[in-house]
């Protein structure tokens, strides 16, 4: 094991989840629910909660808080709340319904999720998630989400990576869209009723903290460019993940880390920033100007078989390669799970075969995902019914029909398990600041299982936060704050100063050029494989790149108008700070776990080797200033129900 040198970070006090429940795991959430203090209906009407972001977590939280009687103010940067990137989730949502009678249970869903996360999540949180999962399906069906159904009229399910049961509910390849529209419509009802005020095309640029409590946000109206402050009794961040730090990812173009990064700079701890998920099945990069990668749902691995030629640099087209000269490497290496191994395992396996020269397509950066056997077995109609829209999408982008030519796929950045640290109540280290969905770090450990993101976003928004936030708001009313409060005016002027500074540079390199360079650096050194040497070189380069950014970036003038380059410039400026923290976290964690693969820490057969003795903790980082070593607070993870074992899917 390498020795950790600490020049790049400072040791701080360890922290604990102050709301961590005790007692039998099955009764913990029920107990917490009945212990949280309540807010009377009359008082709820007087309390305002800001919810930033309108994806699954944000929309469901805004709708539910309004149903409970709170005054809700919601923001999104998109032109409509319905466009948040949850909309693009394809595959499905897990729930421990056991409608299939195949041995599923809350217990087993919890076990799979804890194990899938490589024993780096809290078992209490995960158990709660599994417990709530069934109610989410009930609720979404009641909202009119058109899930796939069997001929008898009951709900259909399918299998997903890392599971041996069929517990994933889906709406063709558009599950995220249908669930988000359900949450969006629930929120729309409250908007119509005047209980949610919703501001589209509005971006949060900073958090207002008054006397240690989160009391509002500073925003920019993206149409007029006006900087506007909104005050509240509590703030909920539901702003998604930070995968766009890599420039090329499956995230939407606008996805960004600004809200959580600004909150981090105001004192919220940032947990496990280096845990980023690389999804194995994405359409490979095809040209230099590409700015976005497209995911092909993991559900395709149910019927598609992954293979490469046995011979390196085989020039033959796939149909000319006989069966005996194909290597179905996932089925060969992991006979028990085959093509359905978890994402981190599959991605690394793909990278290994490509690194060995057996990759296919341009640059050898791709492997085949072949449906020939499934087409023979089930027929074209059945495959089209299951995956029609995904096949169409693939054909639109590549020009190839997956029914005739095997798909080519390659891993891409997809999801970030890291995020702002929260306790069991989803409360950050800033009182009054709650963080839900992908923006927090809570439930997925070092690797998320497929179809669990939708489950977590909706569990947080519909069922957890609306209950736990009451325990905090029961202490209201808080100190009276108005727009002239010194903390408010100071934060506002910082925001204005930053915008002015970005516009004042007037350099010679575009925002996009910097973003591309940062992304490449992160992909090379903080991507699928991380090494001590690579991370150190990234840590040497990032501050220089950041400095260059503030000297050479070119942003078209005009802060007080619609200016998309300016929006992007602010987001990339924050990525340039966050990237450094990700590398610090990755460098300090000399073990491998889940998605975090340190070359120095692997088993004989190339799998991630954990070091529970030294790293069985959540790394929660405290901000210490730009370029200054951050402070590490450790939250030790204890397992009473699930014995941490070397993860094996073989």
């Amino acid at each position: 094991m390498l020795k950790t040198d600490k020049t790049f970070y400072v040791d701080g006090l360890s922290i604990a989840d102050g709301k961590a429940p005790s007692g039998p795991i099955e009764s913990r959430w029920g107990r917490r629910e009945s212990e949280v203090r309540l807010v009377s209906p009359a008082n709820k009407r007087r309390l305002t909660v800001i919810v930033v972001g309108t994806g699954l977590a944000g929309s469901s939280a805004a709708a539910t808080l309004a149903e409970l009687g709170y005054r809700v103010v919601s923001f999104c940067y998109q032109d409509s709340p319905r466009r948040a990137h949850s909309i693009a989730a394809q595959g499905g949502i897990n729930a421990a319904k056991n409608y299939r009678n195949d041995g599923d249970s809350v217990w087993r869903l919890c076990h799979d999720t804890v194990k899938g996360g490589d024993f780096r999540s809290r078992e209490s949180n995960v158990y709660r998630l599994a417990e709530i999962s069934s109610r989410i399906i009930d609720h979404c069906v009641a909202q009119g989400v058109p899930f796939a159904r069997e001929y008898g009229g009951l709900l259909d399910t399918r299998s997903f990576g890392g599971a041996q049961v069929s517990r994933t509910f889906y709406a063709r390849g558009q599950t995220g869209q249908q669930l988000l529209l359900g949450a969006y419509q629930a929120m729309a009802k409250q908007i119509g009723a005047g209980k949610v005020r919703q501001y589209p095309r509005t971006e949060m640029l900073d958090l207002i903290v008054v006397d240690g409590r989160a009391r509002g946000v500073v925003t920019r109206d993206l149409v007029t460019g006006e900087v506007i402050t909104y005050l509240a009794d509590a703030v909920v961040l539901a702003t998604g993940g930070y995968g766009n730090v890599f420039h090329l990812s499956t995230n939407a173009k606008g996805c960004n880390a600004t809200a959580i990064w600004r909150a981090h700079r105001r004192g919220a701890l940032f947990a496990n920033p280096c845990y980023t998920q690389i999804h194995p099945t994405c359409i490979p990069v095809s040209n230099d100007h590409q700015c976005k990668l497209t995911l092909m749902s993991e559900s395709l691995r149910n019927d598609g078989r992954v293979w490469v030629p046995t011979r390196a640099r085989d020039p033959r087209s796939p149909d000319r390669i006989p069966e005996g000269e194909r290597d179905y490497f996932l089925e060969r290496t992991y006979p028990r799970f085959g093509n359905l191994v978890p994402r981190d395992i599959a991605s690394r396996a793909v990278k290994r075969v490509c690194d060995s020269g057996r990759g296919v397509g341009p640059g050898g950066r791709g492997v085949y995902l072949d449906f020939a056997d499934a087409l023979d077995r089930l027929g074209r109609a059945s495959i089209q019914a299951k995956y029609g829209n995904l096949f169409q999408m693939y054909q639109r982008i590549t020009g190839d029909d997956p029914c005739c030519v095997p798909m080519r796929i390659y891993p891409a950045v997809h999801y970030t398990m890291g995020g702002l640290w929260v306790d069991y109540d989803l409360h950050s280290t800033i009182p009054g600041l709650f963080v839900i969905g992908e923006a927090n770090f809570s439930d997925h450990g070092a690797n998320r299982l497929g179809a669990s993101a939708l489950m977590q976003g909706l569990a947080d928004g519909y069922f957890v936060l609306p209950n736990t936030i009451g325990d905090y708001l029961a202490d209201a009313p808080f100190e009276e704050v108005d727009l002239d409060h010194p903390a408010v005016t100071a934060t506002e002027s910082e925001v204005r100063g930053r915008i002015a500074a970005l516009l004042a540079v007037d350099g010679d390199r575009t925002v996009e050029e910097f973003h591309r360079e940062l992304g490449q650096l992160m992909w090379d050194h903080c991507g699928m494989e991380r090494t001590d040497r690579g991370l150190r070189s990234a840590l040497a380069r990032i501050p220089a790149l950041r400095e260059e950014y503030w000297q050479r970036v070119k942003v078209p003038s005009g802060g007080r108008r619609f200016n998309q380059e300016l929006e992007k410039a602010g987001r990339v400026a924050d990525f340039l700070e966050l990237a450094e923290l990700m590398c610090v976290d990755a460098l300090h964690r000399t073990e491998s776990c889940g998605s975090h693969f340190r070359t120095e820490s692997q088993t004989d057969d190339g799998e991630a080797r954990r070091d529970d003795t030294n790293f069985g903790y959540v790394a929660a980082w405290e901000y210490a200033g730009v370029g200054r070593p951050p402070v590490l607070h450790r939250e030790e993870l204890g397992f009473s129900y699930f014995e941490p074992t070397q993860r094996s899917y073989q």
């Binding site: 409509s80 909309i87 009641a142 899930f147 159904r149 939407a252 173009k253 639109r396 078209p556 998309q564």
Partner: protein, 245 residues
């Protein structure tokens, strides 16, 4: 590949706007239409000119943010394809391509190709939902739904709210959008209690916002990137009639 782009440029809501021509070079046939605009914009920024504003986000045809008239067709010449998924291999080298924003009275131009589609959110807020507070639902299997209803409902539910239907309609009608929601929820047992009120309220809001009436031209369904069928409008009309006193 090389193209000449004729693009609608309009500084803000009050500007009169005009078409401006831009040559673009070194376009690869694998690029999407929006990636080509990205290349043009990066070049414009480098030259100190104003980049072309356009809405976009997911770049995989599902968020509904992007939308523009390409050679007079909403989302361009490829059927069932959003502008972000439209690949340049569908154009001929040397083509001149005309790019304009959605044009409809309720969709004001904000800048260049960016329009205000918040009217769609108002239509949904006036009834496009099932009223069910979190925590009150029965077991998901309490109400079986036949696959035919579920499938037809799903076909309408895939609407991405991009506004192409309105932009293509000679009357500037948003009936396909409104009817898609009424159909999605109206075909499911969960949507029955509010079915007729929903249709009436959404259509009332639709009309108040200044969208035109439907005269069954069918342009909407022809350009719809999700191929929402025209018969959703018949369903909406039936619900409207049924709901009348």
């Amino acid at each position: 590949m090389r193209f000449t782009l004729r693009i609608w440029r309009q500084r803000d809501r009050d500007d009169t706007g005009a078409m401006v021509s831009y040559p673009v070079d070194h376009v690869s046939p694998d690029m999407s239409f929006l990636e080509m605009l990205d290349v043009l914009n990066e070049e414009l920024v480098r030259r100190g000119e104003e980049p072309v504003a356009f809405d976009h986000d997911c770049r995989e045809g599902i968020c509904g943010a992007c939308g523009m008239m390409i050679n007079g067709m909403a989302h361009g010449p490829q059927r069932a394809t959003t502008a972000c998924q439209l690949s340049m291999r569908h154009f001929a080298d040397g083509d001149t391509i005309t790019v304009e924003p959605w044009r409809a009275r309720p969709f004001g131009v904000i800048k260049d190709l960016v329009v205000d589609r918040s009217a769609f959110d108002r239509i949904i807020a006036s009834g496009g939902y099932v009223s069910v507070p979190a925590g009150s639902a029965p077991d998901a299997h309490a109400l079986p739904v036949s696959t035919s209803s579920a499938e037809a409902s799903f076909e309408a539910a895939v609407c991405i709210g991009c506004g192409a239907c309105v932009a293509a309609c000679p009357n500037g009608s948003a009936m396909l959008f409104t009817a898609a929601k009424a159909t999605h929820l109206g075909l499911l047992p969960q949507g029955q209690p509010e079915r007729y009120v929903r249709a009436a309220e959404m259509v009332r809001t639709h009309d108040e916002l200044g969208f035109g009436g439907c005269t069954s031209m069918g342009e909407c369904t022809a350009v719809c990137p999700k191929s929402i069928p025209l018969d959703v409008i018949s369903r909406l009309n039936r619900d409207l009639l049924h709901g009348q006193p």
